[in-house]
């Protein structure tokens, strides 16, 4: 047991794991464009569901290995936090001790967030014509009341907005306005305005999400930043 513990907190293990991750990222960056059609839906579905539906281990093996190696990395980081804080934290060295561990903890939370999203998340795109209704789930739908877009002199879209009603069990909500980068939360879903078609048949492409991991990832990001600031402070003082 002690040998396993020592192996997991060893720097050599960390370097090997980092290197394997980097190699896997390289393999993935070459595999993705080589199997474009196959991977086209990977970002539209939570990862684990996509993996279980996709099959084709020949193209996805590196993602499975990535998951295993990241699990090893997460375990190693968690143990390093315990190990480091176990040994001599004092008022004098608190920032020096805590900053790197906040970064580790933040990274752990980001990984946890993505794990939760991959396992329990929901992601679906709904294309709704103006004045029409699109189903989301079994008993809910979105009604697109109105759609507006602004363009510049070259015809590029500069802004757009959709006026929507959320309908659940036949009951309509008040109207709400959905704009790019301004998601709306309704009925346990988050809605994102993904794209717009202002041609003859005006329509909006709306992404519907449930993301149980987003909060953890955000918390992880905040801790990572906090730890980084601590490190920066130490370095600037040195």
């Amino acid at each position: 047991m002690r040998a396993v513990y020592r192996f997991l907190i060893s720097l050599n293990t960390l370097f090997v794991v980092f290197t394997i991750c980097a190699v896997l990222a390289l393999v993935g960056s070459l595999t993705l464009p080589a199997n474009l059609a196959f991977f086209s839906g990977i970002d539209d579905t939570p990862l684990f569901k996509w993996l279980s539906d996709a099959g084709n281990l020949k193209a996805t093996w590196w993602i499975f290995v990535f998951i295993v190696v990241l699990a090893l990395l997460a375990t190693s980081m968690a143990l390093c936090i315990v190990e480091d804080l176990r040994t001599g934290v004092s008022r004098k060295n608190i920032l020096q001790k805590l900053s790197p561990q906040l970064i580790h903890l933040g990274t752990l939370f980001v990984l946890l967030g993505y794990l939760l999203t991959s396992a329990y998340g929901l992601r679906a795109d709904v294309l709704i014509g103006k004045g029409e209704t699109g189903a989301i789930g079994t008993n809910a739908s979105l009604h697109l009341v109105d759609l507006n877009a602004r363009t510049d002199e070259n015809g590029y879209f500069t802004d757009w907005k959709a006026v929507l009603r959320f309908v659940k069990d036949g009951v309509e909500s008040d109207t709400m306005v959905l704009r790019p980068v301004h998601p709306v939360r309704v009925g346990g879903y988050e809605l994102f305005f993904k794209s717009i078609d202002m041609g003859d048949e005006q329509a909006a492409l709306i992404r519907v999400c449930r993301d149980p991991g987003a909060g953890w990832a955000l918390l992880g990001g905040a801790l990572l930043l906090l730890g980084s600031l601590g490190l920066a402070y130490i370095r600037l003082r040195a």
């Binding site: 720097l11 960390l14 370097f15 980092f18 290197t19 991750c21 980097a22 990222a25 390289l26 993935g28 960056s29 070459l30 993705l32 464009p33 474009l36 991977f39 086209s40 990977i42 970002d43 790197p100 970064i103 993505y114 992601r123 510049d152 070259n154 590029y156 879209f157 500069t158 802004d159 757009w160 704009r179 790019p180 980068v181 301004h182 998601p183 988050e190 994102f192 993904k194 794209s195 992404r207 999400c209 993301d211 987003a214 990832a217 955000l218 990001g221 905040a222 990572l224 930043l225 980084s228 600031l229 490190l231 920066a232 370095r235």
Partner: protein, 257 residues
């Protein structure tokens, strides 16, 4: 490579001016390699024109010029030029201009090859996006400065330079981490996800991992001296490949995002 369309520029006066406004400082930065005060005057003139070019773009766009490749590369070059000025004042690295200014000038020349569109997509019209690009290209610039200092260390063997490279690379890693965090927030708000399985994202992760490897190796004294300096330089090479190479060498799929 990378959406280069120089001939179309001639039809677009603003884009042509934008191109000139980066090529002129690029030339002045090269002249900045001249010895003595003259060289420094060239450098400062180049810096002034460079700043003017960014102000010109900001006025043209009516927004912070950080959304297009032209602007991003120019901004990265500006941060490197300002870093050089700061290091020069502190007389921290001898002959730094020989390593750094050609990189800055090359970046500007590459920026000049990119056509400007002058429209900010609604998805980019948020402070999260601007913070993301600000930190991202600041990070690359710091990494570039660190790599130049590292290269000088490899040639000269002065250990103070290796420590300085570590410091710049540390700040680069911090800026990159900040960029990834705020970039994740921006992308989540725009598309409902903070991660994409694309070659670009994987290469950014690879760069971040390499930097993490360097930071751990250097902080724990597991690696010092020339091997550490080489690893720091490799991180910059990975960053450059992520930005310029992915899409050009590794085909990037057309994305719906």
């Amino acid at each position: 490579m990378c959406n280069v369309d120089v001939f179309l520029y001639a039809d677009d006066r603003a884009a042509f001016i934008a191109m000139l406004l980066v090529l002129v400082p690029a030339a002045l930065y090269i002249l900045g390699l001249s010895e003595g005060k003259k060289g420094f005057v060239f450098f400062l003139t180049g810096l002034a024109v460079h700043v003017a070019s960014i102000v010109f773009r900001a006025v043209k766009l009516g927004a912070l010029p950080l959304a297009e490749k032209y602007d991003n590369i120019s901004f990265m070059a500006l941060v490197m030029a300002l870093s050089y000025l700061w290091l020069r004042r502190r007389q921290a690295v001898e002959s730094l201009e020989l390593a750094l200014l050609p990189v800055v000038a090359t970046l500007l020349a590459v920026a000049g090859l990119h056509k400007t569109i002058n429209t900010v997509s609604p998805f980019m019209n948020t402070p999260w996006f601007y913070m993301h690009t600000f930190f991202y290209f600041t990070s690359y610039a710091f990494l570039g400065v660190g790599a130049c200092i590292g290269a000088i260390y490899i040639l000269s063997g002065r250990s103070a330079y290796e420590r300085l490279q570590y410091r710049w690379t540390l700040f680069s890693w911090m800026a990159l981490s900040a960029s990834l965090v705020v970039g994740g927030v921006w992308f989540y708000m725009a598309y409902g996800t903070y991660w994409l399985w694309t070659s670009k994202e994987l290469w950014i992760t690879l760069t971040w991992l390499l930097l993490g490897l360097y930071m751990h190796a250097r902080m724990t004294s597991w690696m010092r001296g020339r091997p550490a300096a080489v690893l720091g330089c490799l991180c910059f090479a990975a960053a450059l490949f992520t930005y310029f190479g992915v899409g050009a060498v590794i085909p990037a799929p057309p994305t719906q995002f």
